[in-house]
Symmetry: C2
Subunit: 519 residues, 2 copies
């Protein structure tokens, strides 16, 4: 029922014209990579497979659809009630793969009625996951492999499961953890849940008298020792409420003490209060975790914090200061990560919310779902915009690799053509510009799609897991040439067609396009 009304009206019209069982082929693909880049990560396939498995109309759905289509013939609803995906075959590119324009991410074959009905849901289940996974992968590339990346976007996500999807697919795209508790609960061990405290926690304390511990408890020792260091360092002007909050937090989480230090005065109070409690915790045998910055000039503050840690390490001869995390989390986007690379800073981890999960730079991926063949008749959709012309017929897609192990281009061929072979020259053509041709002698050839669902067996080859998908993103990015990954003006990655497909497409196009008559 998560679908557009016109799928139901079309389905009824197909059924009424007795065309619902024609054998059809649809392709799901996009035309332009998001965010001005070249790469896109395929994701959402796990959801698609669950959806295919569970697809059916319940009696209450049927009752509602009857209301929507009051004049439809009653036996149409018998047909609708009987529908499931047992007559459908689906191939797809594995989740976590880098994918490129016009290459079918998913190919759907089966009776026209059911295949048409799947359109909207498949698009919904692929568009946003692929978009946000791509975004996360780009953030990972921008941050570098040595930084910890945490997703903090739930509160700004587009709907509760917008937040849930974001958490899951950001992990696949290369993030290390999320703040989203339900994602952790439902997705298991692959999704690490992280979080410490907010400004409200610090603000809620007014003074040290609010923190009272029984004698001999761990908390009392930490408080005492903190105050001793405070006197020793002559830091008695730090904010007392903040210090009380830190002591309380350290008492609750002695092994995970990570403090937000910018509630009142980052360097003048927050940093100092953290150092005091951290020294006390170290005395008590715990390792403090670090600090978080949520405002101000993150590069400057992080460097100052690191300097202070180094100074303290020397002054008190404590090693732990070198291992403290410095987490930054204020309105960080891909551009900020790129800019930070060029400056001196000491941030070790980023908490990223709004820009990551809503994909601020481009909040939608334009995947489409197009009919390419019915009963062995190829279908074309002509458009005044060349980029929107459909490549008709059933096709196979391949990735051709060079001697250095990196992909040279992706290739579409007709279904019955001989595929490109290792060590043999293959003519690859631009789909629309006839003069753009290249001979490729691949060192490796990879077929991109494989069967993931058949009517008899259901899911083929297992459900994609988070860890395998994440690993795939990482390994595919690793072998991609750096100029395709570049932030500014990346080199376009070629998507070609075989000579036979080129000729087939253009003949069909000529045959279908009207010749204008002028007089």
């Amino acid at each position: 029922m998560l679908t557009d009304m016109y799928q139901l009206t079309m389905c009824y019209a197909y059924w009424k014209a007795d065309r619902h069982n024609l054998n059809s082929n649809f392709e799901l693909f996009f035309r332009k990579p998001p965010f001005g880049g070249e790469i896109t990560v395929m994701a959402g396939l796990d959801q698609v497979l669950s959806f295919l498995h569970n697809f059916n109309f319940t009696p209450s759905d049927i009752t509602y659809i009857k209301k929507l289509l009051p004049s439809a013939s009653p036996s149409f609803f018998t047909y609708l009630s009987s529908l499931d995906c047992s007559s459908v075959t689906v191939s797809a590119i594995p989740q976590g793969s880098l994918v490129f324009p016009r290459i079918p991410l998913i190919t759907i074959s089966g009776p026209l009625g059911i295949c048409q009905l799947l359109e909207t849901t498949l698009l919904t289940l692929i568009n946003y996951p692929s978009l946000v996974t791509t975004n996360a992968a780009r953030f990972r590339i921008a941050a570098g492999d040595d930084k910890v990346l945490l997703e903090f976007g739930l509160r700004r996500a587009q709907g509760p499961d917008g937040g849930f999807s974001a958490s899951k697919y950001c992990i696949i795209g290369g993030f290390d953890g999320t703040s989203n508790v339900i994602a952790g609960k439902l997705l298991g061990e692959d999704v690490k849940v992280k979080g410490t405290h907010a400004h409200a926690f610090v603000q809620s304390f007014k003074g040290l008298e609010e923190v009272v511990f029984e004698e001999g408890t761990g908390g009392e020792k930490i408080k005492k020792s903190t105050l001793k260091y405070r006197r020793e360092l002559h830091w008695e002007d730090t904010h007392e409420g903040e210090l009380a909050a830190f002591i309380s937090y350290a008492d609750a989480f002695p092994s995970q003490f990570l403090a937000l230090i910018d509630t009142y005065d980052t360097l003048g109070s927050g940093l100092k209060n953290f150092i005091l409690v951290a020294l006390a915790l170290d005395d008590a045998g715990f390792k403090p975790a670090g600090i978080r910055l949520d405002s101000g000039d993150l590069a400057y503050f992080s460097s100052e914090v690191r300097k202070a840690f180094t100074k303290m390490s020397n002054q008190f001869d404590r090693d732990f200061f070198h291992k403290l995390m410095i987490v930054a989390s204020n309105d960080i986007n891909e551009n900020v990560l790129q800019e930070l690379k060029k400056q001196e800073h000491a941030i070790t981890a980023f908490g990223i919310g709004t820009n990551l999960v809503t994909c601020q730079k481009q909040p939608a991926l334009g995947c489409v779902y197009k009919l390419v063949e019915i009963e062995d008749q190829p279908k074309i959709k002509i458009s005044q915009d060349i980029a929107k012309v459909l490549i008709p017929g059933r096709k196979h897609s391949y990735r051709l690799f060079g001697g250095d192990g990196s992909p040279i281009l992706d290739l579409l061929i007709r279904e019955n053509e001989p595929p490109p072979k290792v060590g043999e020259r293959f003519l690859c053509r631009h789909p629309f510009e006839e003069q753009k041709r290249v001979f490729v002698t691949p060192s490796r050839v990879e077929k991109l799609s494989s069967l993931v669902w058949d009517g008899k067996n259901g899911v083929v080859g297992g459900m994609p897991t988070i860890s395998a998908s994440k690993e795939r993103v990482k390994s595919q990015i690793k072998i991609m040439r750096g100029d395709h990954l570049r932030y500014h003006n990346p080199t376009p990655y070629k998507v070609s067609v075989s000579d036979a497909l080129f000729k087939f497409l253009h003949q069909l196009w000529l045959d279908s396009a009207p010749v204008l008559e002028l007089s």
Copy 2:
């Protein structure tokens, strides 16, 4: 469980320090209206009330949280298990109201532990609904009251319930219908579900021989009569597959025949084929509905279509041609609607997807949830960015209206101050700039927030309905001065504080801000 991890860690730290039952006050508000405009529509309150009603941790939640907080004291989990919203009081501005920066949309009072835990979920449930409702309201203002607006965004939405929320809140913001079937099913009569057919339907037909009806049926009559008009008008060169598709669709939906005419050649084939079938349907006693354009220059094509309809109406003396809808649906955004106003066009309805539901222009609203008071102690959060300084303490908000019935400004006062009165001068001050002051003598005073949840009774005043919320948006926009609603550089709407609140805020700020020592 739809929350950030740090709410749980903070909750534990509050509990450990025995502060979880301190009486606290939080405010949910935003700092800047979205989309470069002045207005924002409050929405999501219905979801918030359901959430408050259902709030609790299940045994399986508790089991999972124990894993996340392995060193937490066991009796903390007894406390967590016992939590619900029966000790919480919530006031809010009614759903569908126009709201402005810094005015609390929701005020939450109760024990610190539970109030803190509500933060993330409340933000998630208000941020996106308010954003997308505002977007829809802006689209409605741009399109004018006489156009039909349909939401077609499900396939590009951020997650399935991103799509669901979009459908619901776009209706509230001023849309007339949605393509989203599940939204119609779950939300009832207030949500009209609309849709016809896609290009795939047209492409799936090759020629007229594919449309065969038994003699004497309605379909046969329509086909015959269509072909008769085709000969009469010498339109035998239109695309046969398209004509076959239109005849089939008309047979399935004779009273709702709305055809997508741009699959092959909008004016040369699609329009003509539509006219042929429409004439045949009219002969058979049905009223055709209209056409949809999904590509090309929408203003130009719609005008040409309208001209052709007028010509046909005269040629065949048929009135129905004047009543046909012309639906446009290709990548429409607010700017396109604004531009179309200035051109000649004949579009009567817009189907809008991606730009509407993902809020492309600004995909997140920045609502925040801030602690303003604990146990009668006002709380302030200082920031280097003045716009981020918190207005501390418990407050009331009012809207002051002028003699012409339109709002002059919104006003925040301290909780125990006398409110502004009709006919009496009231000094309203800019919260941060001391020289900006204005005396307002209101003709009407409206208290903005009211009690929506109390611990004993649960929801107070009933759940907001879609129709009442939609009506509220409409009526509030109607009385707002046009210059606040303007697309380009709208006049800022004032949000003021009373003199007492101004002084209170600035004294607290002075007391809390560190005085730097230079030497």
